[in-house]
Amino acid sequence: MKKLLSILLLCLATSGLNAADPWTHATTPWPWSFPRDHGSHPEFKTEWWYLTGNLDDAKGNPYGYELTFFRHGLQPKPTQPDSAWSIRDIYFAHLAITDVQSRRFIFSEKISRGALGEVEISQKDMQVRLADWTLQRKPDSTLQMAASDPVTGIGLELSATPLKPLTLQGQKGLSRKSATPGNASHYYSFTRLQTSGQLTIAGKKIPVQGLSWFDHEFSTSALGEDQEGWDWFCLQFDSGDELMLYRMRNPGNRTDPASSGTWIPAHGPSLPLKSSDFTILPLDEWKTASGATYPSGWKISIPSLQITGEVQPLLLDQELRLKRTSNIRYWEGTCRFTGTRNGKPLSGRGYTELTGYASPIGQGMKE
């Protein structure tokens, strides 16, 4: 569950919630239809296509990557429809690569109003392009992505093939974020994609392969008004199972009861998890240069699944310090799980997302 953009939502649309809200809200499960729903849903305010993955080069050195495309609707009907620069949505994309071996974390961002063909997002299938960053679903269901930034010297060209059918998160894909009805998103994932291709770091191309995780989520008002942020985990276990968990943080670091998760076993149907089904306890802290404190390392236990273990980041600093998106900062990084299930060792790799620690929700955007 990635809802960085709901930060924007919260602040820009709070007023819009009261009056006749022109945007569609996620209140009931979506009538999913694919491949159409891989495409864009402009009637919702916010939408993203989110890829993270853990890859290894030929020598077995681990790498992590994140490639995300966001669409954020400003107004359902653009104010100057006659101008090519007329704005309905703004688009941004984030690219981050973690080189664990040389302890490097490099990120890049793009933002665009989509004028004059700078952005193309299909409403029929997953065909997303922002400038020269692309994400496309091929006829054989492989996701193909390409992005590069000559300034920071990073890039990727990967193709990711789903090893499992897609998973609808929450209740038939309706994922609640707070008690308020409508504060929810439509959300599905490909939890295990066999990935291969190449990463570019400092201009050097590195052939890699490994596993990716894909989320596609759209919503209009996901966050509760006083929610401070969230901790989100996706884990891919060597056993072939996956786990997604998120903890919405209410004031005082309390866990919102709407927090939830999904257990996707190697075979068979996925199992939704309620907030009462799991606990996430931070083990350590990491302080940024700017003075913010992130939790770092967690003890996760899911008694109903007899799972217990630790999630540890492979690199402490995996914070994206974005300049173009109103100085938003969040931590999105590769990590490793070690623990047990039913008393047997369970290990895996995954990604963790931490928001609301370094930049309060809506910093610079509150009006």
């Binding site: 924007l8 820009l12 954020h72 400003l74 107004q75 104010t79 100057q80 006659d82 101008s83 090519a84 620069w85 007329s86 704005i87 703004i90 933002i111 665009s112 109003r113 004028a115 004059l116 063909g117 700078e118 400038a131 000559p150 300034v151 300049k323 173009r324 998106t325 109103s326 610079g364 955007m365 009006e367």
Partner: protein, 859 residues
Amino acid sequence: MNWLRTFRVFLAHGGRDFFRHKTLSLLNLTALAVGVAAIVAIQTVNETALRSFRASLDLVAGRPDFTVEGQGFRLPENLIPILRQDPAIRELTPTLTLIASLPSHPGEFIHLIGVDPFSNTELVTYRLQDTLLTPADATAFVSEPNTIAITRPLADRLHLKIGDSLRAVSGGHQANLQIRFLLEPSPDLIGADDHLAIADIATVQSSFGLLGQIDRIDALLLPDADGKITSAQADLLTRLTPHLPANARAGSPERRGQEVGKMLGAFQLNLTALSLIALVVGMFLVTNTVAANVARRRSELGLLRSLGLDRRSVIFLLVGESLLLSLLGSTLGIFLGLQVARTLLHSVSSTITSHYVLLSMTDIAVNPWSLLLAGLAGLLAAGLAAWWPAREASLVPPVDALQPGNSADRASSPHSLALRPALLCFLLTLIFSATALYGRIPRTGFLAALSILLAAAFLAPSLGRFFARLPSLPFPSAILARSAFSRGLHRHGLAAAALSVAVAMAIGVTIMVHSFRATVDQWIGESIKADLFIAPSTNLIAGALEPLDPIAESLALATPGVLAVGTYREVRLFLDGLPAKLAACKLDVLRIHNPLTLLSALPGDPYELCQKGDYALISENFARRRRLQPGSSISLPTPTGLRSIQVAAIFRDYTSESGLLLLDRATYQRLTQDQGLTSLAIHLQPGISAQAVGDSLREQLRPRGEFLIYSQAGLREEALRIFDRSFAVTTLLRTLAIAVAALGVTLSLTALGVERTREIGILRATGASRTQILRTIMFESAYLGATGITLGIVTGFAVALILMQVINRAFFGWTIDWHTPYPSLIYVTLGMILACLLASLPPAWRASRLSPAEALRSE
């Protein structure tokens, strides 16, 4: 030479003399201060102009690596996808600029820039702040329609605050803009135009009818392997050129700054040259004072020499004193100059706006380096000026120096020799004039002017001697004065030279401005024929950049009593690297109601040629600067491609410094696709009241915004007012020159008065009355004045000739008919005579008050 000892002598003597002759020293100091002030003022104004322009440019475009800009006409926005695909470009952002008047704030305008806040993040140098001073991000800026950010100074001036709405009008389009942010330039952009306002590009396109158009694209490039971008720029230009419309100019943005520098170059060079002349006059004065100083302190210097001070130390002592004094003078001059710059700012910024680029300077930009340079120029001038008399003093044997008597006045330089340098200077004048006119080195025109002034300076002592040889008036005091003047020529010669240079400057500039004004006045009389003129209200302040509401034309045509409506459209562009104005008129109306003064033309009717084909009428200065004849062709970059235009005729015009290329309206619209209007000229049927039609039009146009509606007389007046404003600085510098000259006379006479104390004592002792002494000194000053002024007037005519026929021709190419401003010349002459007399009064009075006993104490 023992430096340390010399320095101690210097310390002991230098200051003492200053305090002993306070008036002299103060005059000297003031003269130098005025000279330095003139330079500082002009440099500061010039720098402020360039800096203000650059800051305004940087504010919206930052410092890009590459810029594509539409000149004269806008660019199609669909160039952007082409540029985006180029591998060398890493960021690019468009801007769209217009001038809009604010009807609810008469006389005010905004220089509105449409930006894309999403693509310009790496380039912008401004910040948008809301009421809480929190910086806005791009999303907030575009989330509400018609959002605009204005500068804080403008908001304060118009009593606007965040949340207010602002009606803006441009080219017949109106927009109700909402002020939601204030524009804060980054600290290094002080001096950016406070009329700048920022809105989203979609708002500007859609509110002002500019869909699909942009003005420029600024890009950041990827450096090559060596981290440089110069080769990337060149390669990019090569790749892009085939895709760009003919009117697009692409390249490094420094070029833009250079072009503005070039554009303002002639204008600024003029001012700089004039300000340097003020310093040259100041130099004469310093030389004069030091010379007087040397004479006065002859015995003191003799004593020092006999006590063992060597020659070089004498030079060091005297030059050092002069430098010390000029240090004070230069410092004073710097402060004075900054004050003068402040007062000049407005007229200079208006002049630049009406002739070159939109500029609004609110405060001077002080460049410490220029101040230092001007101060050093003052020091250098004082040092050089002191060196010559100091060297002479050092050459006098101590014995001679200590010998009492009038040997101090023994002429040290044979005056006949001065004729040779004068002749040489005159020859140089001719050579420099020739190189300026025919050698395509316009700057040498200023050297020609300087040479003729120097020639006059060299001639001054000879002319003085000539005057002294003429029979004098039959009064004892006149006879005494004549002989004193003759003996004092070594000093009077310098004062007369300074005076003649100042008078020549004053007369030359007076004749030039007068002739120019008379020529323009006459031309205005011939060429402003229409009864009414309509233009957007910003024309006066923003320089004809806001297009006129097209409704004005149809309203005018529909108004009863209107015989014909002439249209005028003007855009500024660069042709072959030189600035120019491209204009379009309805030539059929012009031909019948307001024919141009044609100087030469192709056979046949030039108007008809222009109406039928790709022919143009060009202004005289345009033709001269580009060496064009009827029949020559010009490559005109237009949005529809590079068009070859043939010159049908050359006409006289004084509206544009950069020159005018005039097309028929239909041809212009066909070639440029530009339907815009700049102003209208309305011709009425006989007997119809212009006042009534003007009032009716004003009433009909009122809801559409703010307009300037002039009667014929009103426009003529306005045209002359703009002319006068353009020469405001010149006139001020002329006044400064006269002031420096008057100071020079006072200085010279005071020096002589002090020097001749003993002689006056003898005269008094032998029975001369106070009045006789007073008269003698005043007669002496009359000799001095007559020499300087006569020479000055004659040289002044030569200077005027050089200004009009050499400098003007080389830089501007205008025809200026010679009009001698007899009354002004008489005023200037009388003024100078009066200044001489007034200047002679204090020293004469002081001399006459001397008690013989005290004066003779030295005997």
